[in-house]
Protein backbone atom coordinates (compact mmCIF):
# COMPACT_ATOMS: atom_id res chain seq x y z
CA UNK A 1 0.00 0.00 0.00
CA UNK A 2 1.43 3.44 -0.90
CA UNK A 3 2.46 5.67 1.96
CA UNK A 4 -0.18 8.34 1.27
CA UNK A 5 -3.00 5.82 1.35
CA UNK A 6 -1.82 4.30 4.61
CA UNK A 7 -1.61 7.74 6.16
CA UNK A 8 -5.08 8.68 4.95
CA UNK A 9 -6.62 5.46 6.24
CA UNK A 10 -4.89 5.77 9.59
CA UNK A 11 -5.97 9.35 10.11
CA UNK A 12 -9.48 8.89 8.73
CA UNK A 13 -11.10 7.74 12.01
CA UNK A 14 -9.89 10.76 13.98
CA UNK A 15 -10.96 13.16 11.25
CA UNK A 16 -14.39 11.57 10.95
CA UNK A 17 -14.77 11.51 14.71
CA UNK A 18 -13.93 15.22 14.96
CA UNK A 19 -16.44 15.84 12.18
CA UNK A 20 -19.08 13.77 13.91
CA UNK A 21 -18.83 15.32 17.35
CA UNK A 22 -17.91 18.92 16.41
CA UNK A 23 -18.40 19.89 12.76
CA UNK A 24 -21.84 18.33 12.29
CA UNK A 25 -23.38 19.41 15.63
CA UNK A 26 -21.93 22.90 15.22
CA UNK A 27 -23.40 23.13 11.72
CA UNK A 28 -26.84 21.77 12.62
CA UNK A 29 -27.24 23.73 15.84
CA UNK A 30 -26.06 27.04 14.46
CA UNK A 31 -28.23 26.63 11.37
CA UNK A 32 -31.29 25.81 13.46
CA UNK A 33 -30.78 28.70 15.89
CA UNK A 34 -29.68 30.97 13.06
CA UNK A 35 -32.84 30.22 11.11
CA UNK A 36 -34.94 31.09 14.16
CA UNK A 37 -33.04 34.37 14.56
CA UNK A 38 -33.33 35.02 10.82
CA UNK A 39 -37.09 34.39 10.74
CA UNK A 40 -37.68 36.66 13.73
CA UNK A 41 -35.50 39.35 12.19
CA UNK A 42 -37.29 39.04 8.84
CA UNK A 43 -40.74 39.26 10.45
CA UNK A 44 -39.71 42.28 12.50
CA UNK A 45 -38.44 44.07 9.43
CA UNK A 46 -41.50 43.20 7.39
CA UNK A 47 -44.25 43.78 9.90
CA UNK A 48 -42.99 45.86 12.83
CA UNK A 49 -41.71 49.19 11.61
CA UNK A 50 -40.07 51.31 14.27
CA UNK A 51 -37.08 51.04 16.61
CA UNK A 52 -37.06 47.24 16.61
CA UNK A 53 -36.71 47.15 12.83
CA UNK A 54 -33.88 49.68 13.07
CA UNK A 55 -32.06 47.45 15.55
CA UNK A 56 -32.45 44.50 13.19
CA UNK A 57 -31.10 46.54 10.27
CA UNK A 58 -28.10 47.53 12.40
CA UNK A 59 -27.46 43.89 13.34
CA UNK A 60 -27.58 42.72 9.72
CA UNK A 61 -25.32 45.60 8.69
CA UNK A 62 -22.67 44.72 11.30
CA UNK A 63 -22.68 40.98 10.61
CA UNK A 64 -22.64 41.25 6.84
CA UNK A 65 -20.05 44.00 6.86
CA UNK A 66 -17.40 42.27 8.97
CA UNK A 67 -15.43 39.06 8.37
CA UNK A 68 -16.71 35.93 10.08
CA UNK A 69 -13.21 35.15 11.36
CA UNK A 70 -12.99 38.57 13.03
CA UNK A 71 -16.43 38.01 14.61
CA UNK A 72 -15.31 34.66 16.02
CA UNK A 73 -12.10 36.19 17.43
CA UNK A 74 -14.08 39.01 19.03
CA UNK A 75 -16.43 36.58 20.75
CA UNK A 76 -13.80 34.10 21.90
CA UNK A 77 -10.69 36.24 22.51
CA UNK A 78 -12.26 39.69 22.86
CA UNK A 79 -15.21 39.19 25.22
CA UNK A 80 -13.10 37.84 28.15
CA UNK A 81 -11.70 41.38 28.49
CA UNK A 82 -15.17 42.51 29.58
CA UNK A 83 -15.66 39.50 31.81
CA UNK A 84 -17.54 37.25 29.40
CA UNK A 85 -15.68 33.98 29.14
CA UNK A 86 -17.09 31.34 26.82
CA UNK A 87 -15.77 27.91 25.97
CA UNK A 88 -14.66 27.52 22.38
CA UNK A 89 -17.67 25.52 21.15
CA UNK A 90 -20.18 27.96 22.67
CA UNK A 91 -18.31 30.93 21.23
CA UNK A 92 -18.31 29.31 17.79
CA UNK A 93 -22.00 28.42 18.11
CA UNK A 94 -22.88 32.02 18.98
CA UNK A 95 -20.75 33.39 16.16
CA UNK A 96 -22.19 31.10 13.50
CA UNK A 97 -25.75 31.56 14.77
CA UNK A 98 -25.47 35.35 14.53
CA UNK A 99 -23.96 35.00 11.09
CA UNK A 100 -26.62 32.63 9.76
CA UNK A 101 -29.32 34.77 11.39
CA UNK A 102 -28.22 37.87 9.50
CA UNK A 103 -27.89 36.19 6.11
CA UNK A 104 -31.09 34.13 6.33
CA UNK A 105 -33.09 37.13 7.54
CA UNK A 106 -32.44 38.79 4.20
CA UNK A 107 -33.39 35.62 2.30
CA UNK A 108 -36.55 35.08 4.34
CA UNK A 109 -37.61 38.69 4.05
CA UNK A 110 -37.37 38.46 0.28
CA UNK A 111 -39.21 35.15 -0.08
CA UNK A 112 -42.00 36.10 2.32
CA UNK A 113 -42.65 39.27 0.37
CA UNK A 114 -42.54 37.30 -2.89
CA UNK A 115 -45.82 35.55 -2.03
CA UNK A 116 -48.57 37.48 -3.86
CA UNK A 117 -50.64 39.87 -1.74
CA UNK A 118 -53.79 38.14 -2.99
CA UNK A 119 -52.81 35.07 -0.98
CA UNK A 120 -53.03 37.09 2.23
CA UNK A 121 -56.40 38.39 1.13
CA UNK A 122 -57.65 34.91 0.27
CA UNK A 123 -56.54 33.67 3.69
CA UNK A 124 -58.21 36.62 5.45
CA UNK A 125 -61.36 36.18 3.36
CA UNK A 126 -61.95 32.70 4.78
CA UNK A 127 -61.59 34.09 8.30
CA UNK A 128 -57.95 33.43 9.13
CA UNK A 129 -56.11 35.74 11.48
CA UNK A 130 -52.57 36.99 10.78
CA UNK A 131 -50.85 34.06 12.44
CA UNK A 132 -52.96 31.45 10.66
CA UNK A 133 -52.46 33.18 7.32
CA UNK A 134 -48.71 33.31 7.92
CA UNK A 135 -48.37 29.70 9.08
CA UNK A 136 -50.78 28.00 6.74
CA UNK A 137 -50.66 30.08 3.59
CA UNK A 138 -47.65 32.38 3.32
CA UNK A 139 -44.78 30.46 4.94
CA UNK A 140 -45.37 27.16 3.09
CA UNK A 141 -45.25 29.01 -0.23
CA UNK A 142 -42.28 31.12 0.83
CA UNK A 143 -40.46 27.97 1.97
CA UNK A 144 -40.50 26.60 -1.54
CA UNK A 145 -38.77 29.67 -2.94
CA UNK A 146 -36.42 29.74 0.04
CA UNK A 147 -34.96 26.26 -0.38
CA UNK A 148 -32.26 27.04 -2.99
CA UNK A 149 -30.83 30.15 -1.26
CA UNK A 150 -31.10 28.57 2.20
CA UNK A 151 -29.33 25.46 0.93
CA UNK A 152 -26.51 27.65 -0.33
CA UNK A 153 -26.20 29.21 3.09
CA UNK A 154 -26.26 25.81 4.74
CA UNK A 155 -23.57 24.35 2.48
CA UNK A 156 -21.38 27.41 3.00
CA UNK A 157 -21.85 26.98 6.73
CA UNK A 158 -20.56 23.39 6.69
CA UNK A 159 -17.35 24.61 5.14
CA UNK A 160 -17.13 27.78 7.23
CA UNK A 161 -17.17 25.76 10.45
CA UNK A 162 -13.51 25.04 9.66
CA UNK A 163 -12.88 28.61 10.83
CA UNK A 164 -13.74 27.40 14.33
CA UNK A 165 -10.32 25.71 14.31
CA UNK A 166 -8.86 29.19 14.73
CA UNK A 167 -10.61 29.60 18.07
CA UNK A 168 -9.47 26.16 19.29
CA UNK A 169 -12.59 24.11 18.53
CA UNK A 170 -11.24 20.60 17.83
CA UNK A 171 -13.35 20.10 14.73
CA UNK A 172 -12.50 18.29 11.51
CA UNK A 173 -9.96 20.75 10.14
CA UNK A 174 -8.21 21.15 13.45
CA UNK A 175 -7.94 17.37 13.73
CA UNK A 176 -6.18 17.42 10.36
CA UNK A 177 -3.85 20.19 11.54
CA UNK A 178 -2.94 18.21 14.62
CA UNK A 179 -1.98 15.16 12.59
CA UNK A 180 0.06 17.36 10.22
CA UNK A 181 1.98 18.63 13.24
CA UNK A 182 3.28 15.12 13.94
CA UNK A 183 3.34 13.54 10.47
CA UNK A 184 4.66 16.52 8.47
CA UNK A 185 2.37 15.55 5.57
CA UNK A 186 0.26 18.69 5.00
CA UNK A 187 -0.56 17.88 1.38
CA UNK A 188 -2.02 14.47 2.12
CA UNK A 189 -3.89 15.46 5.27
CA UNK A 190 -5.37 18.66 3.87
CA UNK A 191 -6.50 16.85 0.70
CA UNK A 192 -8.14 14.30 2.95
CA UNK A 193 -9.92 17.02 4.95
CA UNK A 194 -11.02 18.69 1.71
CA UNK A 195 -12.44 15.38 0.44
CA UNK A 196 -14.48 14.92 3.60
CA UNK A 197 -15.95 18.43 3.28
CA UNK A 198 -16.65 17.71 -0.38
CA UNK A 199 -18.50 14.53 0.54
CA UNK A 200 -20.56 16.36 3.16
CA UNK A 201 -21.49 19.14 0.74
CA UNK A 202 -22.41 16.65 -1.97
CA UNK A 203 -24.75 14.78 0.35
CA UNK A 204 -26.40 18.09 1.25
CA UNK A 205 -26.74 19.13 -2.39
CA UNK A 206 -28.54 15.94 -3.28
CA UNK A 207 -30.76 16.42 -0.24
CA UNK A 208 -31.55 19.91 -1.51
CA UNK A 209 -32.53 18.53 -4.91
CA UNK A 210 -34.91 16.08 -3.26
CA UNK A 211 -36.54 18.75 -1.12
CA UNK A 212 -36.96 20.98 -4.16
CA UNK A 213 -38.66 18.24 -6.14
CA UNK A 214 -41.02 17.60 -3.27
CA UNK A 215 -41.89 21.26 -2.81
CA UNK A 216 -42.28 21.84 -6.54
CA UNK A 217 -44.91 19.16 -6.98
CA UNK A 218 -47.77 21.66 -6.99
CA UNK A 219 -46.33 23.85 -9.72
CA UNK A 220 -45.65 27.24 -8.21
CA UNK A 221 -47.69 30.37 -7.75
CA UNK A 222 -50.95 30.35 -9.64
CA UNK A 223 -51.39 33.04 -12.22
CA UNK A 224 -54.74 33.90 -13.68
CA UNK A 225 -55.26 31.49 -16.56
CA UNK A 226 -58.25 30.76 -18.64
Amino acid sequence: MPHWLTLMLESLPSLLWAGLIFTIPLTLLSFMFGLAVGLSAALIRLFLPGPLAAIVRFYVWIIRGTPLLVQLFLIFYGLPSVGIILDAFTAALIGFTLNIGAYTSEILRAVISSVPKGQWEAAYSIGMNWRQAMQRTILPQAARVAVPPLSNTFISLVKDTSLAAAITVPELFQAAQRIVATSYEPLILYIEAALIYLALSSVLSSLQARIETRLNRYGGFLEARS
Partner: protein, 257 residues
Protein backbone atom coordinates in the same frame (compact mmCIF):
# COMPACT_ATOMS: atom_id res chain seq x y z
CA UNK B 1 -80.69 44.58 5.60
CA UNK B 2 -78.02 41.93 5.21
CA UNK B 3 -75.35 44.45 4.25
CA UNK B 4 -75.56 48.11 5.11
CA UNK B 5 -72.75 50.56 4.45
CA UNK B 6 -73.34 54.12 5.59
CA UNK B 7 -71.43 57.26 4.62
CA UNK B 8 -68.36 55.34 3.54
CA UNK B 9 -65.35 57.42 2.71
CA UNK B 10 -62.11 55.81 1.58
CA UNK B 11 -58.92 57.75 0.96
CA UNK B 12 -55.54 56.47 -0.15
CA UNK B 13 -53.25 59.33 0.79
CA UNK B 14 -54.61 62.40 -0.99
CA UNK B 15 -56.73 60.36 -3.36
CA UNK B 16 -60.37 59.86 -2.38
CA UNK B 17 -61.69 56.62 -3.87
CA UNK B 18 -65.12 56.60 -2.22
CA UNK B 19 -67.01 59.74 -1.28
CA UNK B 20 -69.83 59.42 1.19
CA UNK B 21 -71.22 56.19 -0.26
CA UNK B 22 -74.21 54.49 1.35
CA UNK B 23 -75.57 51.22 0.07
CA UNK B 24 -77.71 48.42 1.42
CA UNK B 25 -78.32 44.90 0.22
CA UNK B 26 -81.38 42.97 1.35
CA UNK B 27 -81.19 39.34 2.43
CA UNK B 28 -81.54 37.01 -0.54
CA UNK B 29 -80.94 39.65 -3.17
CA UNK B 30 -78.09 40.00 -5.63
CA UNK B 31 -76.49 43.40 -6.06
CA UNK B 32 -74.18 44.20 -8.95
CA UNK B 33 -71.74 47.08 -8.58
CA UNK B 34 -70.94 48.36 -12.06
CA UNK B 35 -69.14 51.35 -13.50
CA UNK B 36 -65.90 52.30 -15.22
CA UNK B 37 -62.59 51.00 -13.88
CA UNK B 38 -61.29 53.17 -11.09
CA UNK B 39 -64.85 54.19 -10.25
CA UNK B 40 -64.62 52.61 -6.80
CA UNK B 41 -66.73 49.46 -7.21
CA UNK B 42 -63.97 47.07 -6.20
CA UNK B 43 -62.96 49.21 -3.22
CA UNK B 44 -66.58 49.40 -2.08
CA UNK B 45 -66.90 45.63 -2.32
CA UNK B 46 -63.69 45.17 -0.35
CA UNK B 47 -65.00 47.50 2.36
CA UNK B 48 -67.81 44.98 2.91
CA UNK B 49 -65.39 42.35 4.26
CA UNK B 50 -62.89 44.92 5.49
CA UNK B 51 -60.04 43.90 3.22
CA UNK B 52 -60.11 47.67 2.81
CA UNK B 53 -60.69 49.61 6.01
CA UNK B 54 -62.90 52.62 5.34
CA UNK B 55 -61.43 55.97 6.35
CA UNK B 56 -64.81 56.78 7.88
CA UNK B 57 -68.36 55.50 7.88
CA UNK B 58 -70.02 52.38 9.18
CA UNK B 59 -70.21 48.84 7.93
CA UNK B 60 -72.91 46.44 9.03
CA UNK B 61 -73.07 42.81 7.90
CA UNK B 62 -75.63 40.32 9.21
CA UNK B 63 -76.42 42.50 12.22
CA UNK B 64 -72.81 43.18 13.31
CA UNK B 65 -71.86 46.80 12.94
CA UNK B 66 -68.51 48.59 13.01
CA UNK B 67 -67.91 52.33 12.99
CA UNK B 68 -64.81 53.81 11.41
CA UNK B 69 -63.26 57.23 11.97
CA UNK B 70 -59.93 58.50 10.80
CA UNK B 71 -57.35 58.17 13.57
CA UNK B 72 -59.29 55.48 15.43
CA UNK B 73 -58.10 51.91 15.00
CA UNK B 74 -60.66 49.13 15.08
CA UNK B 75 -59.47 45.87 16.66
CA UNK B 76 -58.48 42.92 14.47
CA UNK B 77 -60.83 40.63 16.40
CA UNK B 78 -63.87 42.75 15.61
CA UNK B 79 -62.84 43.00 11.98
CA UNK B 80 -62.51 39.23 11.84
CA UNK B 81 -65.89 38.64 13.45
CA UNK B 82 -67.58 40.79 10.84
CA UNK B 83 -65.51 39.28 8.05
CA UNK B 84 -66.63 35.78 8.99
CA UNK B 85 -70.15 36.65 7.83
CA UNK B 86 -68.73 36.99 4.32
CA UNK B 87 -67.05 34.85 1.70
CA UNK B 88 -65.10 36.26 -1.20
CA UNK B 89 -64.35 35.26 -4.77
CA UNK B 90 -61.43 37.07 -6.40
CA UNK B 91 -60.75 38.09 -9.96
CA UNK B 92 -57.58 35.98 -10.09
CA UNK B 93 -59.10 33.10 -8.08
CA UNK B 94 -56.29 33.14 -5.48
CA UNK B 95 -56.57 29.46 -4.70
CA UNK B 96 -53.89 28.19 -2.33
CA UNK B 97 -51.46 26.60 -4.82
CA UNK B 98 -49.81 24.39 -2.21
CA UNK B 99 -53.07 22.70 -1.27
CA UNK B 100 -55.16 20.30 -3.31
CA UNK B 101 -58.62 21.26 -4.50
CA UNK B 102 -60.36 19.68 -1.53
CA UNK B 103 -57.82 21.11 0.93
CA UNK B 104 -58.55 24.55 -0.46
CA UNK B 105 -62.20 24.05 0.43
CA UNK B 106 -61.64 22.48 3.87
CA UNK B 107 -58.96 24.99 4.93
CA UNK B 108 -61.37 27.54 6.42
CA UNK B 109 -63.39 24.84 8.14
CA UNK B 110 -60.50 23.04 9.82
CA UNK B 111 -58.14 25.94 10.50
CA UNK B 112 -60.60 28.69 11.40
CA UNK B 113 -63.74 26.91 12.57
CA UNK B 114 -61.83 23.90 14.00
CA UNK B 115 -64.16 21.39 12.39
CA UNK B 116 -63.05 17.76 12.60
CA UNK B 117 -61.33 16.66 9.37
CA UNK B 118 -63.96 14.13 8.35
CA UNK B 119 -66.87 16.52 8.70
CA UNK B 120 -65.01 19.24 6.75
CA UNK B 121 -64.24 16.72 4.03
CA UNK B 122 -67.88 15.73 3.68
CA UNK B 123 -68.95 19.35 3.34
CA UNK B 124 -66.18 20.05 0.83
CA UNK B 125 -67.18 17.08 -1.30
CA UNK B 126 -70.79 18.27 -1.31
CA UNK B 127 -69.74 21.78 -2.32
CA UNK B 128 -67.39 20.55 -5.04
CA UNK B 129 -70.22 18.40 -6.42
CA UNK B 130 -72.43 21.46 -6.42
CA UNK B 131 -69.94 23.43 -8.56
CA UNK B 132 -69.48 20.39 -10.81
CA UNK B 133 -66.00 19.40 -9.70
CA UNK B 134 -66.60 16.26 -7.66
CA UNK B 135 -64.11 14.45 -9.91
CA UNK B 136 -61.29 16.91 -9.20
CA UNK B 137 -61.04 16.74 -5.40
CA UNK B 138 -57.47 15.53 -5.14
CA UNK B 139 -55.67 17.43 -7.91
CA UNK B 140 -53.46 20.52 -7.63
CA UNK B 141 -55.16 23.79 -8.56
CA UNK B 142 -52.45 24.46 -11.16
CA UNK B 143 -53.79 21.57 -13.26
CA UNK B 144 -57.26 23.14 -13.60
CA UNK B 145 -58.59 25.56 -16.21
CA UNK B 146 -59.41 29.10 -15.12
CA UNK B 147 -63.14 28.37 -15.02
CA UNK B 148 -62.56 25.29 -12.87
CA UNK B 149 -60.26 27.23 -10.54
CA UNK B 150 -62.89 29.91 -10.09
CA UNK B 151 -65.53 27.28 -9.29
CA UNK B 152 -63.21 25.80 -6.63
CA UNK B 153 -62.79 29.34 -5.28
CA UNK B 154 -66.58 29.66 -5.05
CA UNK B 155 -66.77 26.36 -3.14
CA UNK B 156 -63.99 27.57 -0.81
CA UNK B 157 -65.82 30.84 -0.17
CA UNK B 158 -69.09 29.03 0.57
CA UNK B 159 -67.58 26.39 2.86
CA UNK B 160 -67.97 28.28 6.15
CA UNK B 161 -71.62 29.11 5.21
CA UNK B 162 -71.17 32.89 4.94
CA UNK B 163 -74.23 35.13 5.07
CA UNK B 164 -73.03 37.09 2.03
CA UNK B 165 -70.94 36.07 -0.96
CA UNK B 166 -68.79 38.88 -2.35
CA UNK B 167 -67.49 38.49 -5.90
CA UNK B 168 -64.78 40.80 -7.21
CA UNK B 169 -64.85 40.64 -11.02
CA UNK B 170 -65.43 36.87 -10.89
CA UNK B 171 -65.37 36.41 -14.68
CA UNK B 172 -62.91 39.07 -15.87
CA UNK B 173 -59.89 36.79 -15.98
CA UNK B 174 -61.77 34.19 -18.04
CA UNK B 175 -62.43 33.69 -21.73
CA UNK B 176 -66.13 34.03 -22.62
CA UNK B 177 -66.66 30.28 -22.98
CA UNK B 178 -65.06 29.60 -19.59
CA UNK B 179 -66.83 32.46 -17.87
CA UNK B 180 -70.12 30.79 -18.84
CA UNK B 181 -69.57 27.92 -16.43
CA UNK B 182 -68.84 30.38 -13.61
CA UNK B 183 -71.92 32.46 -14.44
CA UNK B 184 -74.03 29.27 -14.35
CA UNK B 185 -72.80 28.40 -10.86
CA UNK B 186 -73.43 31.93 -9.57
CA UNK B 187 -76.88 31.96 -11.17
CA UNK B 188 -77.77 28.75 -9.38
CA UNK B 189 -76.62 30.24 -6.06
CA UNK B 190 -78.77 33.30 -6.74
CA UNK B 191 -81.82 31.10 -7.40
CA UNK B 192 -81.23 29.37 -4.08
CA UNK B 193 -81.43 32.71 -2.31
CA UNK B 194 -77.75 33.37 -1.59
CA UNK B 195 -77.18 37.04 -0.81
CA UNK B 196 -74.50 38.25 -3.20
CA UNK B 197 -72.69 41.44 -4.05
CA UNK B 198 -70.55 41.47 -7.15
CA UNK B 199 -68.30 44.10 -8.65
CA UNK B 200 -68.29 43.43 -12.36
CA UNK B 201 -68.18 44.91 -15.81
CA UNK B 202 -69.54 41.69 -17.28
CA UNK B 203 -73.03 42.75 -18.37
CA UNK B 204 -74.02 39.20 -19.13
CA UNK B 205 -73.28 38.31 -15.51
CA UNK B 206 -74.96 41.38 -14.05
CA UNK B 207 -78.09 41.22 -16.19
CA UNK B 208 -78.59 37.51 -15.70
CA UNK B 209 -78.04 37.32 -11.98
CA UNK B 210 -78.43 40.66 -10.28
CA UNK B 211 -81.82 41.99 -9.26
CA UNK B 212 -80.31 45.28 -8.17
CA UNK B 213 -77.61 47.38 -9.76
CA UNK B 214 -75.57 50.23 -8.36
CA UNK B 215 -73.56 52.36 -10.79
CA UNK B 216 -70.40 53.90 -9.34
CA UNK B 217 -68.28 56.50 -11.05
CA UNK B 218 -65.63 58.75 -9.59
CA UNK B 219 -66.20 57.35 -6.10
CA UNK B 220 -69.89 58.27 -5.91
CA UNK B 221 -73.10 56.38 -6.61
CA UNK B 222 -74.53 57.63 -9.90
CA UNK B 223 -77.64 55.54 -9.88
CA UNK B 224 -79.11 52.57 -8.10
CA UNK B 225 -82.18 50.52 -8.81
CA UNK B 226 -83.71 47.32 -10.13
CA UNK B 227 -81.44 45.80 -12.74
CA UNK B 228 -84.01 45.70 -15.55
CA UNK B 229 -84.65 49.44 -15.10
CA UNK B 230 -80.96 50.34 -15.07
CA UNK B 231 -80.17 48.29 -18.15
CA UNK B 232 -83.24 49.20 -20.20
CA UNK B 233 -84.06 52.76 -19.13
CA UNK B 234 -81.16 54.33 -17.26
CA UNK B 235 -82.05 57.71 -15.79
CA UNK B 236 -78.61 59.24 -15.93
CA UNK B 237 -76.55 60.16 -18.93
CA UNK B 238 -73.41 58.69 -17.33
CA UNK B 239 -75.12 55.34 -16.82
CA UNK B 240 -76.38 55.37 -20.40
CA UNK B 241 -72.93 56.09 -21.78
CA UNK B 242 -71.36 53.44 -19.57
CA UNK B 243 -73.83 50.76 -20.61
CA UNK B 244 -73.40 51.76 -24.25
CA UNK B 245 -69.63 51.21 -24.03
CA UNK B 246 -70.17 47.79 -22.46
CA UNK B 247 -72.70 46.54 -24.99
CA UNK B 248 -70.47 47.88 -27.74
CA UNK B 249 -67.53 45.94 -26.32
CA UNK B 250 -69.77 42.93 -25.95
CA UNK B 251 -70.74 43.03 -29.64
CA UNK B 252 -67.13 43.44 -30.63
CA UNK B 253 -66.37 40.21 -28.79
CA UNK B 254 -69.51 38.57 -30.09
CA UNK B 255 -71.27 38.33 -26.74
CA UNK B 256 -74.14 40.75 -26.36
CA UNK B 257 -76.54 40.67 -23.47
Amino acid sequence: MMVELTNIEKRFGDHTVLKNVSISVAEGSVMALVGPSGGGKSTLLRCMNLLEIPTSGSVEVAGDRLEFQSGVRVGMRQIQLLRRHTGMVFQNFQLFPHRTVIENVTEGLTTVLKWPKERARERAIALLAKVGLAHKTDVWPSTLSGGQQQRVAIARALAPSPKVLLCDEPTSALDPELSGEVVDVLAQLAREGTTMVMATHDLRLASRIANEVTVLDGGVIVETGASRDIFTKPKHERTRRFIATLTHEGHMHGEGI
